[in-house]
């Protein structure tokens, strides 16, 4: 048991010249974001993974046995299989982004933590990247990582190299689509979080931004280009482009890019305005 003196003791260690503060913020954020509800979401998100893994296993190992093949009738382990998996995961991803991301900046603002961060060698981008990585890490855990594992599983279980030769580009799509989606969704989530004072308000606002337009799109589906109002739909369209699949919506890729860039730009603008070390009252 050390004996602590009631006097100031100097520290004789060496500070890192250029500390990777974004990594410190990300690691702490990942730890702080963990809670029971997140555990449940992650557990649910892995059910489709195990289901798909089972399908791959049966198709790969028992392709010749008719009785077993009846169970997985019509299943083709191709690019669309992985896109379909990621598309299914994207619904859970939206929920996860709300649970993990809503409080990331809102709570810092509520508890006036920003001066603590910015009085240390932390810059605006260190802070934003750190927070974005918190969303990104959990997001990748339910999208990119299981999809890559499924791909790897299929590649290992296949007796020949036909699958890899035909779908060598799929891992890039598996990485690119979730990354792009997480960047866009993460930026939007952080902006909404920065805009709100408290995680609950941010959650409600995020829920409205993500799900209400999707609901409207479903109701008003006959209106041309209505899908552009839904971030869910635009991200699906983006996924279809990455996987070279048929476009699920009727809006053009040009408009989709404009909408997604607009979301990114607006998010960045809000973050620039709201993430300040000191609130200056006029």
């Amino acid at each position: 048991m050390p004996i602590y003196e009631k006097s100031y003791l100097s520290w004789h260690g060496q500070l890192l010249q250029k500390p990777m503060t974004w990594l410190v913020i990300a690691k702490t954020g990942i730890r702080l974001a963990w809670r029971k509800s997140l555990g449940i979401i992650l557990f649910i998100s892995f059910i489709p993974f195990f289901f798909r893994a089972g399908q791959i296993y049966i198709v790969s190992r028992f392709g010749d046995e008719e009785a077993l093949m009846k169970m997985v009738r019509g299943i083709q382990i191709d690019a669309e299989f992985f896109m379909s998996f990621l598309k299914g995961q994207s619904f859970i991803l939206l929920l996860l982004v709300i649970v993990v991301g809503a409080g990331l900046i809102a709570n810092d603002r509520k508890f006036k933590a920003l001066p603590i961060y910015f009085s240390k060698p932390v810059g605006f981008w260190d802070y934003i990247i750190g927070k974005l990585l918190v969303i990104g890490s959990y997001g990748m855990l339910i999208t990119m990582i299981p999809a890559l594992l499924l791909y790897l599983m299929r590649a290992l279980l296949t007796q020949n190299t036909d699958f890899i030769q035909s779908f060598y580009w799929v891992p890039f799509s598996i990485v690119a689509w979730p990354l792009a989606a997480l960047l866009i969704l993460g930026g939007l989530t952080l902006a909404v979080s920065a805009f709100s004072r408290g995680s609950r308000a941010a959650s409600i606002l995020l829920f409205s931004i993500i799900y209400v337009p999707e609901l409207l799109r479903a109701i008003l589906s006959r209106i041309p280009d209505i899908g552009l109002i839904s971030i869910h739909a635009t991200l699906h369209q983006l996924g279809a482009i990455f996987f070279g699949a048929k476009h699920p919506y009727d809006f053009s890729n040009g408009w989709m890019v404009i909408v997604l860039l607009g979301i990114c730009g607006l998010s960045l603008l809000i973050l620039k305005i709201k993430v300040r070390p000191t609130e200056i009252l006029s």
Partner: protein
């Protein structure tokens, strides 16, 4: 020289919080004294880059504040005025986190975190969530997170704000103890004179974004030392007239006492001669004790009067 400021201006819209301020803060403990809205907090925040500096140059520990902002932040510990906490973390978690953000290794930050938490008196509460801390504990955790990386320079912005008398005394003793070891320079911004008198040997008095006076506390108080409290019996009008003629400043207390301030280089026996010549009896003559508060009130009063 810990901090050197040259024509620093910090402006919020049309309001100049700091107005072309030039000052020097040598190593040691310096109090930044001024009424609310004097620009003390803005100056500290500006030096750390937390609010933009409109114009001027400054160097902290030999580093330029515009070019080497991150390096400066590594060398400076900042205890903000507001209740700034990182939610969700325990006391030790928050201090460790602050250390890691400054560039300490994880285990170093943890070990050091325990040390500073014991130092500030939060040893027993270090595993509690910071949101559950009382006002006094929040002040202490803010000090701990500022000290964790052993900064060369410590900025304390109203460190006793919101503390009860016992907590205030303990906080001041803590600051005094850190300051007395001479290992780090301290700049303490406060509008509470006793806090500065107790902990600092130098003072910079500010009002409306400008420096009114700077120097050692004893020197500043000494500049106003030629003041005496006098009680006379007899015709005071002739006595006062002669004193004024000699350049003395006189203030009445409303009853029998006069506060007479002598001009520099005038000897106090002059007063005896004037009393004799005007036929008044000198019943009392004692030097007025000049505290920092007297100086502060005089300076602020004069400055405010000049602006009217």
């Amino acid at each position: 020289m810990s901090v050197s400021l040259q024509d620093i201006t910090i402006q919020y819209g049309q309001l100049k919080a700091v107005d072309a301020l030039t000052a020097k803060f040598p190593a040691g403990s310096t109090g930044l004294l001024g009424p609310n809205g004097a620009g003390k907090s803005s100056l500290l925040k500006g030096l750390l880059g937390l609010v933009p500096i409109k114009s001027g140059h400054a160097s902290l520990l030999g580093k330029d504040i515009h070019a080497e902002r991150k390096a400066i932040r590594q060398l400076v510990g900042f205890m903000p005025e507001d209740d700034c906490l990182i939610p969700g973390l325990t006391g030790i978690g928050m201090v460790q986190y602050a250390g890691e953000l400054c560039g300490m290794g994880r285990s170093d930050a943890m070990q050091r975190g325990h040390e500073v938490l014991f130092l500030v008196g939060l040893g027993e509460a270090r595993y509690r969530k910071v949101e559950t801390y009382s006002a006094g504990m929040k002040q202490r955790i803010k000090l701990a997170q500022a000290l964790v990386h052993d900064p060369k320079l410590l900025f304390l912005d109203e460190p006793t704000s919101g503390l009860d008398p016992k907590g205030r005394m303990e906080m001041l003793e803590l600051i005094e103890m850190i300051s007395s070891q001479g290992k780090m320079s301290i700049i303490l911004a406060s509008h509470i004179l006793i806090d500065i008198e107790q902990t600092c040997n130098r003072v910079v008095i500010m009002n409306k974004g400008k420096v009114l006076k700077e120097g050692l506390v004893e020197d500043i108080c000494g500049q106003y030392a030629g003041t005496y409290t006098i009680r006379v019996e007899g015709d005071r009008s002739a006595f006062e007239a002669k004193l004024k003629k000699e350049g003395c400043k006189i203030q009445h207390d409303g009853k029998h006492l006069l506060e007479v301030t002598f001009p520099p280089k005038k000897k106090t026996d002059m007063i005896l001669k004037i009393a004799e010549s005007t036929h008044v009896q000198l019943r009392k003559m004692v030097p007025s004790v000049q505290t920092l508060e007297d100086v502060f009130v005089k300076l602020i009063g004069t400055d405010d009067h000049a602006h009217l």
